[in-house]
C-alpha cells in the first residue's frame, strides 16, 4: 500500500517544446511594446540630431536662433523664403492658446459628466452615456476638424463677428471634442474605483447623494481626476488634424484667441510633405516632433504617477 517516492513523476523532465516556444513568443511580444516606444524616440531624435551637430544646418538655424528675437526684433516662422526664419515662439504661443481654450471647455464638461455617470445616473442612463462618449472618441479627428472648419467657424463668426474666421476659439471647440472622451474616461474610472464602502458609510450617516459625491468620492478620487486633466492636456497638445484644419495656419505671435494661429503639430503636418530631405528645415521639423514626443511623454508619466497615487490612497498606503 505504500507508494514509493516518485521523484521522476514530480520533477521536470524535458519541457514540452511547444510550451516553451509559446512562452517565448508571448514574452517577446511584450518587448516589442517597449521596443516600439524606444524606436519612436530614437528615430525621431536621430533626424533631429543634425540641428545640434551639423555645421551645414547651423549656417541656417541653431537652437538659439529659434528662440531669440530676429534682427527686426520680431519672432517669425518663415522657413520657406529667401532667408528662412525659424522662430518657434509663435508656434508655442499658438499651441498653448488652443490647448487652453480646449481644456477650459473639455475639463469641466467631462468631469461633471463623469460625476453624473458614476454617482447620480440610474443604471439605464449610465449604459447610454458610455457608448455616446465611446462614439465621440471614435469620430476621426479629421472629421472633427472638418466640422469645426465648415460649421463651427461659420456659426461663431455669425454670432460674434470674428475678423478671422479660423481662430483659437474655433479650433479649441473642435479640439475639446477630442479631449472630452479621454478626460471623461480617466475621471470616470477614478470615481468608479472609489470603493462602495465609502459611499455606504456616507449614506448610512445620513448624507445625501451630492454630499457623498462632493465630500467623499471626489476627494478620494482626486489624484485620478488630476491625472485625467494631465492626460487631456497631453492629448490637446499633440493633436494634429483638428488644429491643422481649423486654425487658419498663420504663425502669428499673438495671444488673442480670436486671431489665427499655428501649432507645433500642424506645422509638421503642413510642411513635411514639401520639405527637401536632409535640409535644415527637415531637421527642424523632426526636432519639433521630438519635442512633442518628450513633452507628451512626461505628461503621460505624470498622469500615470497620479493614477498610481490614487491606487495607493484608496488602499490606505498614503499618509494624509
Amino acid at each position: 500500500m505504500d507508494r514509493p517516492p516518485n521523484e521522476r513523476l514530480l520533477l521536470k523532465g524535458k519541457r514540452r517544446i511547444i510550451e516553451t516556444l509559446l512562452e517565448t513568443a508571448v514574452r517577446s511580444s511584450a518587448f516589442v511594446v517597449i521596443g516600439a516606444l524606444v524606436l519612436i524616440f530614437v528615430f525621431v531624435a536621430k533626424e533631429a540630431l543634425p540641428l545640434f551637430t551639423s555645421a551645414d544646418v547651423h549656417k541656417e538655424v541653431t537652437l538659439w536662433t529659434m528662440v531669440r528675437p530676429q534682427e527686426n526684433g520680431e519672432f517669425v516662422w518663415q522657413p520657406v523664403s529667401e532667408k528662412p526664419k525659424y522662430s518657434i515662439l509663435p508656434l508655442a504661443v499658438g499651441t498653448l492658446k488652443v490647448t487652453l481654450v480646449a481644456l477650459l471647455i473639455a475639463i469641466p464638461l467631462a468631469i461633471l459628466a463623469a460625476i453624473f455617470t458614476s454617482e447620480f445616473a440610474p443604471q439605464l442612463l449610465r449604459e447610454l452615456i458610455k457608448p455616446v462618449v465611446e462614439l465621440l472618441a471614435g469620430i476621426p479627428s479629421v472629421v472633427i476638424g472638418f466640422f469645426a472648419l465648415m460649421v463651427v467657424a461659420t456659426w461663431l463668426q455669425d454670432a460674434f463677428g470674428f475678423v478671422f474666421r479660423l481662430n483659437a476659439i474655433t479650433a479649441g471647440i473642435g479640439l475639446s471634442l477630442a479631449v472630452i472622451p479621454i478626460v471623461y474616461t480617466v475621471a470616470e474610472d477614478a470615481l468608479s474605483a472609489v470603493p462602495q464602502a465609502f459611499r455606504d458609510a456616507s449614506t448610512a450617516l445620513g448624507a445625501n447623494q451630492w454630499q457623498t459625491a462632493w465630500r467623499v468620492v471626489l476627494p478620494a478620487a482626486m489624484p485620478g481626476v488630476f491625472a485625467a486633466c494631465v492626460l487631456g492636456f497631453g492629448r490637446a497638445f499633440g493633436e494634429t488634424m483638428i488644429v491643422l484644419l481649423a486654425s487658419g495656419n498663420a504663425a502669428m505671435m499673438s495671444f488673442d484667441p480670436r486671431e489665427s494661429f499655428r501649432s507645433f503639430s500642424a506645422t509638421i503636418a503642413a510642411e513635411l510633405g514639401e520639405v527637401v530631405y536632409g535640409s535644415p528645415h527637415y531637421h527642424v521639423l523632426f526636432f519639433i516632433g521630438a519635442f512633442l514626443f518628450v513633452i507628451t511623454f512626461f505628461l503621460n508619466l505624470a498622469g500615470h504617477w497620479y493614477v498610481d497615487r490614487l491606487r495607493a490612497r484608496l488602499e490606505g498606503k498614503l499618509k494624509a
Binding site: 508571448v26 511584450a30 516600439a36 519612436i40 455616446v132 454630499q211 497638445f237 513635411l272 510633405g273 512633442l292
Partner: protein, 301 residues
Amino acid sequence: MRRWIKFVGLAFTTLTGLACLVIVAMLAIILGNIAINGWSILSWEFISGKPRAGMTEGGIFPAIFGTVVLVLLMTLAVIPLGVAAAIYLHEYARQGSKLVHVVRLALANLAGVPAIVFGLFGLGFFIKFVGAGMDHAFFGGALAFGQPGILWAALTLAVLTLPTVVVATEEALRAVPLSYREVAYAAGATRWQVVRHVVLPQSVAGILTGTILAVSRGAGEVAPIMFTGAAYYLPYLPKKLNDQFMELGYHIYVMTTQSPDVEATKPILYATVFVLLVLTFALNFLAVLIRSRIRRRLRTA
C-alpha cells in the same frame, strides 16, 4: 439649513446632468449635420467612381479601396502582436514584476504619443531605415521599399493602435474570473493549457469586440499616413505592398485645404466625410454583432 442643503444638492446634480446633455448634444449635432448634408449626395456612382475635374466631381472609390486595404493590413499586423502582449501581461508575467511595470508604462506612453509623431517615426524608421535597408539588400539599391507605400502606412498605424488593442484584450482577459484559472491550475494545468482551455474560450468575444473597436480608431487617423504612403490623387489602385494609395481621411484633408473651389467641392466633401463615418461606425457595429453572436452561442452551449 436643511432646505439649503437640499437646494445646493439639486443644483449640483442638475449641473452634472447638464454637462452630460451638452456632450450628447455635441455628438448629435456633428453626426446630424454630416448625415443630413452627406446623405443627399450619396449615390452608387459616387461610391464606385473615380474623382474627376480636380476632385470637384466624380467619386471616391480609390479612397474607399485604399482605406479598406490599409485597415486590413494594419489589423493583420496589430492583432496577433497586441493579443500576445496582453496574454503575456495578464497570464504569464509575474504581477508586480519590474518588466510588467515597464511594459505597462510603455503602453500608457505609447497611447499618448501624438499621431503626427507616429508619422515622423514611420518616415524615419520604416521608410528611411527598414525600407531603404531592404532596397540596398534585395533590390541592388533600386527604389522599391525605401519610399512611402501602403505597407509602411499600415505598419505605422499598427504601432499606433497597439496600446488600444492590448488594453482591450487585457480587459477581456480580466473578465474571466480568477477562480476559473485557479481551478485549472489546481487541476495541474500548465500556463498554456490554462490560457488555451479556460481563458481564451471565455474571453474570445471580448477580445474580438475590443480589438475591432481599437482598429476602428486607427482607421480614421490621418496624421500618421500623410508621409508614409497616402497620396493626393492616383489614377490606379494599389496592387503591391509598396504602392501608394488614396485614403478617405487624407482625401478629406486634401479636398478641404487644397481644393481650387471650396464651394464646388463642399457637397462631395460632406459625402466623403459621411462615408468615412459610416465605415468607422460599421466596424463598431460589426464588433457589437460579433459580441452578441458569440454570447448567444455560449448561452445555448
